[in-house]
């Protein structure tokens, strides 16, 4: 068999796989196949209004009105996937001019820096995803920068109700505006679930301002009980949608844990080790498995209280943290000042400890 060299800028196989984005970190979306749900483990969530509410890992909602939709991880999925993100409308709501209902993912600037947005050399990107809805019609979405002053609105059509369809959108890179390239919000990918005219524009071009959807779009929140499933979301460099970038589950989980971490120690399972600084507090070091995007700023203890090798833990207070570890006080009674104490999960195995502050 003879060997040789093929000189080409890009090669595409007969099944559409292109070499241009084949290697390395192809999909800039994390948890695009919706398999990681550290926060809720599949439970339904009703996003509060006025803030970014994270549900499945890396996916957040912004809703201008409360109680108009619920969301959860679903096992309804197209062939080749096992999960999707489900949104269900809770009412037949008529959006107001200033309303905005967004499902979105903020991509860290380090993971979009090579795209060169905001420069003359901005790369073309392609967004692909699988979607299924009880509604048909034209739906909208957008890509935005961190300052919300540059937006590209795209549209896609759902042709058949309750049927999985794959959509592809190719977007020329933005040569204007400021696009962060470090650990801030590099880019937002948005799927509109409803928006008023303030956040709508025509599809297909970059423009100044904050937009989320396309003029004339179908608003999911406008139909009580309407459903919207999405999975297989991929944003890649280049003008062709290639096959979904399946990463090992452990890799995908670790990528998500850079932004949020939830420990499930189980019954008497290890969490950290500390030194009692009084009879009521243990300064405890808990190592993070992944370097956080930025220093954690909060912790949540749920389920049952910790167990400890001595004393009786009852609570926890945030004290110090780095991107690699947190050092809270475990509060309780019966500690002996100066003694080393192992902190572990409670005996019923329901203790969880969440680390917040890494999300974008």
């Amino acid at each position: 068999m003879a060997y040789g060299v093929v000189n080409a800028d890009k090669m595409t196989t007969s099944d559409g796989v292109s070499s241009s984005g084949l290697y390395g970190f192809k999909n800039r979306i994390l948890n695009g196949q919706m398999v990681i749900d550290q926060r809720n483990a599949g439970a339904s969530v009703t996003p509060a209004n006025g803030a970014s509410i994270y549900t499945l890992d890396r996916w957040s909602f912004y809703v201008s009105q409360a109680s108009k939709l619920t969301t959860q991880q679903s096992s309804t999925a197209p062939t080749g996937f096992v999960n999707s993100l489900l949104v269900t409308s809770s009412s037949a709501y008529s959006v107001l001019t200033g309303d905005d209902f967004e499902l979105r993912q903020f991509i860290e600037g380090y993971n979009t820096a090579d795209l060169g947005f905001g420069t003359a050399g901005a790369s073309t990107v392609t967004l692909s995803f699988w979607v299924r809805s009880s509604l048909t019609g034209t739906f909208g979405g957008a890509i935005r920068n961190s300052a919300n002053d540059r937006s590209y609105v795209f549209s896609y059509t759902i042709s058949s109700a309750n049927t999985w369809e794959q959509k592809t959108v190719t977007i020329a890179g933005d040569t204007s505006g400021t696009w962060l390239t470090t650990n801030g919000r590099g880019m937002a990918v948005i799927f509109s679930l409803g928006a008023g005219s303030t956040f709508l524009k025509a599809a297909g071009s970059w423009g100044a301002g904050e937009y989320a959807g396309v003029t004339g779009q179908t608003n999911l929140v406008g139909t009580n009980g309407a459903t919207f499933y999405i999975t297989g979301v991929q944003l890649e460099k280049g003008s062709t949608a290639t096959s979904f970038d399946y990463r090992p589950y452990g890799t995908e989980l670790a990528l998500c844990q850079r932004y949020y971490m939830k420990f499930y120690p189980g019954a008497y399972g290890p969490l950290g080790i500390g030194v009692a600084t009084s009879t009521t507090a243990v300064s405890t070091i808990i190592q993070l498995p992944v370097t956080f995007r930025t220093k954690p700023t909060g912790i949540t203890l749920a389920g049952e209280a910790f167990n400890a090798t001595s004393g009786s833990p009852t609570g926890i207070t945030y004290d110090q943290a780095t991107v690699n570890a947190i050092m809270p006080y475990v509060n309780g009674t019966g500690f002996t000042s100066g003694n080393v104490v192992s902190i572990r999960g409670g005996g019923a195995g329901t203790t969880t400890l969440s680390i917040d502050g890494g999300e974008l």
Binding site: T297, G298, I299, A302, G303, I316, T317, Y318, D356, G357
Partner: protein, 57 residues
């Protein structure tokens, strides 16, 4: 639900909060404008509520 202020190590004034919920879960967070729990705490304050003061150390 109860919010209680506290001073982290090395701080002379309160710079963190412990939220204890009715179900027994606890969230503890810094005064950080990016932290969603802190944002919710500020909203709670705006509604006229007053947190439990920090203990003297």
């Amino acid at each position: 639900m109860n919010y209680k202020l506290y001073k982290r190590t090395g701080q002379s004034t309160p710079d963190a909060v412990v939220l204890t919920r009715d179900d027994g879960s606890m969230t503890s967070f810094m005064f950080d404008p990016q932290n969603s729990d802190y944002i919710a705490f500020l909203k709670w304050i705006e509604e006229g509520n007053v947190p439990t003061p920090a203990e003297e150390q």
